[in-house]
Subunit: 149 residues, 12 copies
């Protein structure tokens, strides 16, 4: 059975409350609920965690590296600076999908540079909560059929 | 009914034949077939075009701007250089989704800079042929429900 | 008699419809009409062309290089990237006047760098449709009296 | 009646004497005379000043900001360095037209960067003395009809 | 009543002991004491925390965002690198004042670039312990009277 | 008794009239009045000057260097370009406090680079008129007690 | 038998007429004639095309990719900007030789950066028309004997 | 007696398992064992800690700053980004030796820039597990004889 | 007879008082006295002026351009920023010698870039007051014998 | 009779032994032999030297500057750094042809910048030993017929 | 038996005499003596050379490449500029250890960029004379046991 | 008695013959003769050497460091690249004067950056052969009177 680790990075716990014109007004609980529902209908198992701590996110990646078959991560503010997080993703040798709520390529220049992206299979950005659902489809596809054709 | 313009940029007509370790061995015809099938099952109408000419791509965007409700585009080699193409995408005021077969953020540095991305709603890269399918879901969602929640 | 080639670059065919807060709501037909009227009253002959194709613009410059005594060009999105277009302008050895509807020096940084400007006698930007009229005066002046005093 | 402030920046008092291959051999007095004549025939009133002092130019802009309806300025050497002058132009909230005798975009790279241009409606460069006449037409147009169509 | 969160970033717990020629020889306890005294005389309530953990600082900002009316933060070493911390400050939509003991604009170049400053109302640097007192005045002013005149 | 020189740079004489959304609608006269009142209550003597001339500001700094015990300066547009002004501030060896009405670190990139800041004890920016009052407190503190603890 | 595709990029149709001090006064017809003669004496077959259109050049490369055993290309103005052309050259997996009439390494800096060169076996520049003849020798050598020893 | 703090940064707990072609297949436990053995034979006392948390590493440095006479640290992914960690190392005023398993100067460019190195006495990189042993020799030498001759 | 204009730029009137470790403790009066004495013994006539005003320095250069046969200038803080001053020096077409008291090539990086140097025959820096004397020898040589052999 | 100096730069004496996948397995002796044979059949005289010393290469260029009619040089590692070598090539005013075994434009970025190329007539790179033969043809052509047509 | 080539680059012959606060006051003779003694006790044979000539260093590397089993090199001033030296080290295919007396990562920025490091197994810097001893241990380890575990 | 070492860098032996419009037509022998004559009349002893070898120049600086009281050096092409030469000049702790025939600040940009200048007391450039004579005056002044007043 497909088992996927979903990781929410810093400040995402405030979702819905924080700059809704950029990030939408859906809360993180609602996103997690949507993900659980969609996962159930796809026959996929999820473990979901959120942390504001860079080290905590690395710990979780290490801890779940044998349980999980793929990782969906929204590194948020760590996207642009964390070499350590990127090293962790590379170290566990699982397919990783980077997700962003907003289109990071159409915002401030410093948000266009992703340190973590080079450790990922692919990146989906700009569809708000729906970015996660698309990532779920992609992760399932990769786990079940190997690298997409 | 949802009507979507799908645009393939330069060299994509060689797909399957060209550097398969990077782009997969699916041909463009096969991708178009997959798209048509998925579109049919979703109740979505497609118009698909490929061109190696920058000006031709701009012409098609202009010509189809009243028919289409959204655009899915893989600008390929023009991603990194074409201000004129980005201007065309902005000019028609439709939701645009940028698609890439490979993860452009994990390749040569010059491929990490996208001139066209800032004219788009979002970007999906790295899932080979499946990137287009994900873009189809996203486009349908935006057309039918407005900006994703 | 003064003969002037007027060239409109990519996306200008959408004028009036596209981002009117930046480019004004006059259509390209209206600008061409204004130019024809002003030219008639000045005793100047015009040939006017628009193309979204970089190569097409180069072809026209080559083809009209013996008929025309001067060129007025709005290279639009090619302003910032086309070495080939700048080479064409240099090759035909005619006085060239670069025109922009908006003040390109007060917009995004990448619009401030003009590859084509160094092949021109001068540049007029920021007066919307009226930029072309001013260029017409300047071109006539140069043709009839040589380099302005 | 249209009232326009014309400002000549540093070293322009030497015009005609200084590097004529770049700036032409017309003296500043002759340019001012041409401007006065053209203005008279257009029914426009001018005030013209030249100064080599950055602070003096700012003082004049402040002092004439209620009398003038528009400003034509050739900031010369201050074009590329004076944030203070650009702030002054922005502060008086009048339409400003930047003028250059030579095509600053086809000379040394440091002359291609204009600090003052972003405070202006538009820019005209490369037509020597005639650049001022074109600016006069543009300024009259803007004063009488608001932003050009 | 005015309620202000005061946050000390990494290494500030060593204050007084660490490079006193740069940071002064006042300890963090003494600064906190000075702040408490000044706050009492101003009728302002403080909550003060120090942490070397980036994630911990973000957690505190989240936790206190309804209690506090303003934030005074010395991000120390995270000033120049933490996009996540800047996002947290932006997310809680409170007026934030950035404080530095030394004049960061007169030290090593990398200390001149502040990632967090753009999320703040203002910045005070260079007055050692007194920078905090000045920030207290400013915060009170903003809370009680809205944005300073 | 504490004697402080207050210097207002270019365009500040237009304050209240110029872009009030950025700089507030308090006039320079009102700021000077506030400063004089606060100074009187603190037992501090002020000399206040405004000039649009870079050289004039340097002259005043030289002239008052024996009378003044500290300098408060808002270099405005010269902040980002004047090496000569920074040299003057360094030359007189007085404690200097740089003041800005708006938060220069949260505006256009070129405003983030301060040439003068490295000649100062500290910098206060973003509190509009109140920035000057805070600077007054800081200057008094430094004069009376030497470098803040 | 050796079959070689010779491609002339934009503006080369004007050869002999355009800036002869840089490019020599031999016309493109004369170069093609020289090439045909030399090819005949070497027992090599040529197909020669010129186009000002980026897309057209890509189309020809695709179309001739099974007929040709090697490509000689002078990308002219597209040398420095066309990622799409470089992708096309890489895609067809033939040995490609880049040719320039002038020594591009001794001209304007932007001409020193070749986007297409990394898709080529080698580069020959600076010998005017004779650059093509040398490329012919090299292409024949590679086709008949594999990579040069 | 010589007392040395050995710090392993993020992801090093996965050693042996993670990209062995870069980092060797020795596990962190084996390295610690080697270090303990070598330390015993040299008459040196060690405290060894590993953490994925930037703040945790800073806490340990603070806590052990009176016990330890020297620090050996492999900052791993924090090497290139953590100003806070470098500030901590500077603050405790102990001799610090930076260690890397791989030769960071022969890998990706961003790994060549070390933020922490300027807070260290020296750096040893490229000898895999043996880098730590060499650092042990160097630390002992510095503690017992002061700065090496 | 040789007639030389000597120009001292901003802050040089404070010489002897200002940062003597960098600029020496000779006052400007003493330097002028030394120059007058040396000039008398060489049979050379001097006019010497100092100003803190960029515009004033330009005015003097214009005013003395027929009297003087050569210019010796220490542009001080304007060296690195004043395009207007460099334009003035170029405009008067006299041999100009740039002088600096300190070795500007061995100080802060921004002092290494001279805007004015390209308008000069040569540059002498680093010999404190004696730099002027050497410039006097060089100016006399150039006036009397034309460009040095 | 044509007389040509052939210069091999540093490390080329190891050819055949050193990284054969990049430089081929032909030794320098074999290349020299091939060159001598080809030269004999063309009626050209050669002098060939190799040195690892930058100064030695300059000395040889000086010494042979009257004997030789042209120079063929492979500057190897000095290509990218030696201003002195480039000055020497410019000083002797002979036609110089730069040769590289590998395609330097398709390797590490620092190898793409040639300091010496701007002192040369042309450059040939990427054909291994055959690059020298092509250079021989080009040199003979230039000596006998002047600059190629 | 282990045979190691030790190479000292330019200016190291002045050691002890030159800037002792940076490089220590041990002379090169003393370092060589220390190395010989340590080598004897380890059963290792050394050949030691010093040269100020870049070409000489390359010659020695070539000449000793069959005798030596490893190289220890302090390239001194050539570290940051010599592509030719780096090419030589790569060409002989021996394990190379780069050594620096001072911590080059904590000095001027240009000393932080090593051209030669990418041709080495590892780098040791900052332990003055003791850096060489540590390199000796590392070289012996590599020769006897292959790449360190 | 004053003893001065005069060093001529690479290619200066060709002086008079090489690009006379830049460097004058005086030969190096004539310059040396002028220097000897001037030195005799000043009572100064000279040793003069020229070399094209970077290492040779370093050797001479080392060898003459006890005999000489000052060094005059024209590093020519090594000015812009040689860290090793700059290290040698710093190592011998003598006053060094850098000399250039042409005004290096008014030529190609790469000639404006001097690596060696930061090791010198001062720099004199642009007076052709007379630059050396001025350096002789300066060197004598420094030797006899210590640092110039």
């Amino acid at each position: 059975m497909s088992r996927i680790l979903v990781l929410h990075g810093p400040n995402l716990n405030l979702l819905g409350d924080r700059e809704p014109q950029l990030y939408g007004d859906t809360s993180l609980e609602e996103i997690d609920h949507m993900l659980e529902e969609e996962a159930a209908s796809l026959g996929v198992k999820l473990r979901i965690e959120q942390s504001n701590h860079e080290g905590e996110l690395i710990d979780v990646i290490h801890r779940e590296r044998t349980w999980a078959k793929a990782i969906i991560i929204n590194p948020a503010g760590y996207t642009h600076t964390s070499v350590a997080l990127a090293d962790a993703l590379r170290a566990v040798r699982l397919p990783v999908i980077e997700v962003h709520l907003s289109n990071i390529h159409a915002r401030e220049p410093f948000r266009d540079q992703s340190v973590t992206a080079s450790a990922c299979v692919g990146q989906i950005s700009g569809f708000r909560a729906y970015s996660y659902i698309l990532a779920l489809y992609a992760a399932k596809q990769i786990i079940e059929q190997g690298p997409t054709p």
